[in-house]
Symmetry: C2
Subunit: 426 residues, 2 copies
């Protein structure tokens, strides 16, 4: 391996990734894990279940990076061709691995409780020139190959993993990350991310231009606009003994000061985590009343482990009768102002506090599309009420996107409003 920053490629195999049937979440997770131990991911490639394409991707990534992680194509069905291909590529022959065979038998007898077929036993066949990594969560083992690069005399590492996310993650955590960590102990990649709201990326870039231009070459700044906010990320790459950690921390402190007017959170975490941390810190509780977001806001809040400490529940009042019966919104309010109005979300929030007895709450109602809009209230019109029992605030939005994005924007903006509300209380 070369002495500068260690680089990796990720190859994902499977036609489902090329026809858009599956969204690739594996690569992002793997990249995070590699970054955390100081390995820089230079390239990600997705190819189909085609021998020639996979072979060519191997040639190319082995030539340009030190570590190649491959996922997919290890299943027991005819469309999965990765294993025999890797065997040929590294010039080995297929043998039965006894430990893998025992494991496959165990999984079928005790976990799946299904009859073991000849084709499942084939899962225990592996090339004889790899190290077999037993997959505790499934039947397809991982395979670790090493190859001398003749041009530089350095060693390349090629690892094949199943495409099923939780099986891949198990192998990464049990074997691959610990092994790679040992190999590259002196490298460091550090990210520092903050979130701003209220200014466009151009405006911020203009504001910090001088500072940005003076950044040392090991530090890179990126702007990531999302949901009308802007995430900013500093990345540093270097050796552990180069003092790079102090430099990035200093630059990050400077950046926070420069953008403090728009600063929301100084961490790479979603708003639902920041809201949760704030609530936990203050020992306060929250509940939600959702119409248009249909549970997405509750889902975001409860996706955080430990959220049961501060999150009590939600009423998803998709239908107006539920707004009336459970949240006690007045029929006259609905008739006079409509379900999407300041008056209705205010009453929803009041009804929520009455039934859930929480310290804070959010109520949302809107028209997410594609249908349901009118001239007065076009698709994308949203009302949000937020605050505490004695202090109800409201705000309206007009989003211009598709249903899915309107739902996301509504939820994220509701979280932002509540976060800023709680912070402003001091």
């Amino acid at each position: 391996m070369s002495s500068s920053v260690i680089t990796a490629s990720i190859i994902t195999i499977g036609d489902e990734l090329l026809i858009g049937q599956t969204i690739d979440t594996n690569s992002a997770w793997m990249a995070q894990q590699l970054n955390a131990i100081g390995i820089w991911v230079k390239k990600r490639i997705a190819v189909g279940d085609e021998r020639e394409e996979i072979w060519q991707s191997l040639d190319e990534t082995i030539a340009s990076t030190d570590i190649i992680l491959i996922t997919g194509g290890l299943g027991p069905t005819a469309d999965d061709i990765t294993k025999p291909l890797l065997c040929d590529y590294f010039g080995g022959k297929m043998i039965v691995d006894q430990e893998a065979l025992q494991h496959v038998k165990y999984i079928f007898q005790h976990i799946l409780k299904r009859p073991l077929l000849e084709r499942n036993m084939k899962q225990a066949e592996v090339p004889d020139n790899c190290t077999v990594l037993i997959n505790q969560r499934g039947t397809a083992p991982g395979m670790w190959f090493e190859k001398k690069d003749p041009s530089s005399d350095s060693k390349k590492i090629i690892v094949s993993l199943p495409g099923v996310p939780h099986e891949m993650k198990g192998l990464m955590q049990t074997y691959i990350i610990p092994r790679l960590t040992n190999l590259i102990a002196d490298q460091l990649i550090i990210h520092r991310t903050l979130l701003t709201a209220g200014a466009g990326e151009s405006f911020i870039a203009e504001h910090i231009q001088e500072w940005e231009n003076s950044l040392p070459s090991q530090i890179k700044l990126a702007y990531l606009p999302s949901y009308g906010m802007v995430r900013m990320r500093l990345t540093a790459k270097g050796r552990k003994d180069s003092g790079i950690e102090n430099i990035i921390d200093q630059k990050f402190t400077e950046l926070q000061e420069l953008v403090k007017e728009w600063l929301v959170i100084s961490a790479d975490e979603p708003l639902e985590k920041a809201v949760g941390d704030l609530l936990q810190e203050k020992g306060k509780t929250i509940s939600t009343a959702e119409s248009c977001t249909g549970g997405y806001l509750a889902h975001l809040l409860t996706s955080i482990a430990g959220s049961s400490a501060y999150y009590k529940g939600s009423v998803i009042s998709y239908d107006n009768t539920i707004k009336e019966q459970i949240l006690k919104v007045n029929r006259i309010t609905l008739d006079n102002h409509g379900a999407v109005s300041r008056e209705t979300v205010t009453e929803m929030l009041q009804g929520l506090f009455d039934s859930m007895q929480t310290d804070y709450g959010i109520a949302v109602s809107g028209i997410m599309g594609p249908s349901g809009g009118s001239k007065e209230k076009p698709t994308g019109t949203v009302w949000i009420a937020y605050g505490s029992p004695g202090n109800c605030q409201t705000k309206s939005f007009h989003f211009r996107f598709d249903r899915q994005r309107n739902i996301q924007l509504t939820a994220v903006n509701a979280l932002l409003l509540l976060f800023q509300f709680i912070q402003s209380e001091g």
Copy 2:
């Protein structure tokens, strides 16, 4: 362009994709759109904001495919380098496009209502050897390049798009898909997908082995295991006049017959869509009571456009007091059996029917982890109640995964149970 199947590559640019900060959803959407007009995506590549990497990916994809779609790196900040790079790559020089300039000014004055900066005007600078595609949803225009391939005398098309999903989608729908459709009018790519539950992929593969081996060469079968179910997809590629559409339809009918014992739905759609269609067809309504899924079930159901016709609402009773107060679960039941029990979900479902008055309902309670498990009820224990007011069914599960996956598995299995329940009523 060659006369066989037209192929495409997708290049996504941005360090956020390589460090795992952003999950790439653009590529999947683009691939679906290309497939729908008969273009086969051969490869997807993700590279960082590095000149050399992007250049090399262009060389490589132009050599191996007919159409190259590039997203990302078009923003107004210093980390975005795609535009000048493309200008150099195609040997052009930068000029100000007057239409793009007018558009940038309009966006800032009328939509963003922010001061227009020098750096924003730069968004209207484009290489002089491309066709400019005005971006109605943002300030960075799309760019359409054409290049003669000297080796085959065929024409390659290279299109650069912004990375912001809704901007990319607007340009694809307005310009790129219609233009590409004109170029490749005689090509066809067809997918037919079905969903099975109750049998492993090996078992199904064994069961249909003979039929699978006899598939004609233009038809490919893939197995996609997901959430304990198996999706199966047939894909056909060919010319419109080759009769390929009839062949795949016939093979798909045969496949449905072969796997009918485990067949759930014969379409590439999520279960929440299938449940919604079934409810709409029968003119029935549904509501949900969620503890452990925390709104994710409601979110799935309401992510379908038009779901307000059959979905009335949900009570997210994350805290036990909400189970008692809104869903009228008996305190004694909670004390004697615990929140995660057949008795509690049964009472939750009953309370749900009483308050929401729907024809069908689902109630779930479980321990999603990482904490909260016990020896009797380990993390992953889930109880689901489902059915209609007069007919309440229950089932328990023991999932073995992380919090996020346990939530997804609970929601998907609840939908499957209710779907099969409604179907069984005839």
